[in-house]
């Protein structure tokens, strides 16, 4: 097991270095000036020259890359050109918001998608199954920005039930501030004993979570359904039925368990997919997370920030995949004996 973990960690390091090199080359070789983001609208030629010198853009590209990697290994991802703040500090501050949004969305998507997929598989080719398939197809086809704006119009514009954007209301930000201990507003507001802030955080989560979860519910439901149909058609399930085992026990104890390993892979991939998808959702809802940060960085040629976000997302994605692989061994101990 240790050898496996070490091997995978080595592979992760190699992949990260590759991602780093590729992103660095793309950001430096494509035409575009990063100094405008740094200096404002109308810099002078002297200011541009000074900024290029300060950013090390006058050095050979391999030297720039080596300096970047050296600093990155020491936890310094540079300063954002757009905000002037250290990239690592900005990402750390924003990571909680994205993590909270994506994780809750995934839990909601799994909570709805897995049972729905199971019921759909059990009722294969019957009315309920057709209905679920039609709805999930629509869920997959509709883009997040459309769903998000539709939900905003319905629940904010028409009904006035839920907030339109942001992570906390004005009043909470002003009158019930709390320290970001974990970066998760729900947790931090409770730790600070601020129920009003907790309520506000919860209310602000509803629409972005619904938007992000909806497309994921469709993916989880359809995959669970397909896996369950395969599992329910297996020889040993037929044997259990012949022995007269209760149908619910067959479905939940045996069929669902057989789907766990492929389902874990899907969940791992989905988390990465949702992190990417959160870029759109965070933009629509002004969610102060990594997605909105990435968008701002891209449109303003903020190379250090683009690099930082890329490295962070790649690391998260690779870590999740490693954890998923390790979970296989917990779910099916036979894998460890091979």
């Amino acid at each position: 097991m240790l050898r496996l973990v070490l091997g995978r960690l080595g592979m992760m390091a190699g992949v990260l270095l590759g991602v780093l090199l590729l992103t660095f080359l793309i950001s430096r070789l494509l035409p575009g000036s990063p100094v405008e983001a740094l200096l404002g609208a109308k810099p002078t030629a002297e200011q541009i020259a000074a900024a290029r010198l300060a950013l090390g853009l006058d050095r050979p590209i391999y030297e720039q890359f080596a300096v970047y990697v050296w600093h990155a290994l020491h936890g310094d991802l540079g300063r954002s050109l757009a905000s002037g703040q250290p990239v690592l500090a900005e990402m750390t501050r924003r990571a909680g918001a994205s993590f909270e949004l994506v994780t809750i969305s995934l839990v909601v998507a799994l909570g709805i998608g897995v049972p729905l997929g199971m019921r759909s598989a059990v009722a294969q080719d019957r009315g309920f199954d057709h209905l679920v398939r039609a709805i999930t197809l629509a869920g997959m086809a509709l883009p997040s920005f459309f769903i998000g704006m539709l939900l905003q119009m319905l629940f904010y514009g028409s009904a006035g039930w839920l907030p339109l954007q942001g992570r906390l209301s004005d009043d909470v930000l002003l009158d019930h501030p709390f320290d970001p201990v974990t970066g998760l507003a729900l947790v931090d507001s409770l730790l600070a004993g601020e129920p009003a802030a907790f309520g506000s955080a919860l209310a602000h989560l509803v629409l972005p979570v619904a938007t992000l979860a909806l497309a994921t519910v469709a993916v989880v439901t359809r995959n669970t359904r397909a896996l369950m149909i395969d599992a329910l058609g297996a020889d040993h399930i037929r044997t259990f039925r012949a022995y007269g085992l209760a149908e619910s026990r067959i479905q939940y104890r045996y069929a669902l368990r057989a789907t766990l390993i492929p389902l874990l892979t899907i969940i791992g991939l989905t988390y990465g997919y949702m992190l990417g998808g959160s870029i759109v959702v965070e933009t629509i809802f002004d969610w102060p997370g990594l997605g909105a940060y990435a968008v701002n960085a891209l449109v303003s040629n903020d190379f250090p920030a683009v690099m930082g976000v890329t490295i962070l997302l790649a690391t998260v994605y690779l870590t999740i995949n490693l954890l998923v692989d390790l979970t296989y061994y917990a779910v099916d101990p036979r894998l460890g004996r091979r």
Partner: protein
Amino acid sequence: MRERLLVLFSALLLVATPAGATGRTVVQAGAGDIKDWDPAIAFSLEVPMLVNVYEPLLWYNPPGSAEPFTPALATSWSSSEGGTVWTFKLRPGVRFHDGTPLTADAAKRSLERTIALKQGAFYIWDPVAAIEAPDDGTLVIRTTRPAPIDLIASSQYGAYIYSLAAAAQGTDWFNQGHDAGTGPYRVRQWDRGQQTVLERFPDYWGGWQDRNFSRVILKTVLESATQIQLLRTGDADIVAPVPADAILGLTRNPKIRVAQAPSWNNTQFLINTAKPPTDNLAFRQALSHLWDYNTVAETVYAGSAEPAAGPIPRSMWGHDDTIETPRFDPALARQLLDQSGIPAEARHLTLAYIGADEEYKNAALLFQQNAARLGITVELLPGPWGTIWDKAKKLETAPNLQSMTWWPTYATPSDWLVGLFRTEQPTLFNLSHYSNPAFDAVVNEGVALEGSDRPAAIAKYGEAQQILMADAPAIFAADLRTRVGYRADIQGLEANPAYAAVFYYRLWRSAATE
């Protein structure tokens, strides 16, 4: 159980409802967050906030006012020795937000710090030779050449006076969301990427009336559609700028007004004068007659622009009213095209514009169609500004035409003439790669006269504009208007093209809703 759920849901709704835009609080929604808090450096989207926190020596008045300036931190001023010595008498009894008094020495050291940092718009003070504070209430600025220090001192960039006691803590201190101004509002809170909250400064020299807003919330809202939704529901009082295509819908809402006023932002499509086929004068003139000025202003900008009359907006002093502007005239364009001698197979152009800008895109598409009717192929190259700018600076990668919206750093027409069209080596913003020694000479004379003999400077700038119209280094497309959407109960909104900002101190909410 059901009752408990109902109570919980009701509580959720209560805390969810934004309570900002009421009573003595005014809420503005906009796309920009603060980049630089340091008033010496700020040169970006934070400026609309800064004008409410900091003050310059003078405010520049909107065009048409009886006087060109309103006293701010200086109550009177005069120039002598041919515009090389400027004396400002400072307003007594002014305090910075940190409690220290405004003195001439504080103002002197504040300006000296701005100049020494060499960041942002420090270069507007380029003519300054020395700053002196002979007594607590007198500030003297000496220049190396006649210079319009009154105009420079009223700039929205790099001209703020701030407490050096606070500034001594450095730019990083400012960038934590601190301020050191004298303005009516001080910064209470900054939640990065979410909102900035300003609160009234009780010791403001201008005093306070009951109707003034005591709190200002500036919400960062990236999507313009979301900003509009907030305005419609009243969760935001002000949205600026509103997208052109939203104006009509908003004006139908009786609870919303859209204020439009001339701005000093204008749009041109710079024509590369050094690259074939646009290095040919007749060909460039033909292009200027293929631009459908009225349709662009009325349709593309939904009436929030007017066809430009040359490089300088009509509302800026020094604009030459006698200019003959090209009109949309395909027949004349065809004649000029024939005169140009450019063969049909060489009538191919590249046109770069900022892809995220709908107005640029639609104007470029219209131009592409009109040009195609005369056999000119226009290849559209949308992209981000950084890429466009980088390519346009080098002749080998520069397009034939490219979009450019320009505004002055301080209230001077020379900003357009020098910044966009004076010979430049290496190229920075003269992306037409235009070089005309006669034009350069006239502009330089105008700049030299601006501080000592403004009517003579205006005459020189007029000559320069005539030269530009003859040489056609750009399609002068549109003078843009400000577009501020606001709730009907907000009163006191005044447009001033010199400041891309809303002055919250001058606003109040009408009594009916207080």
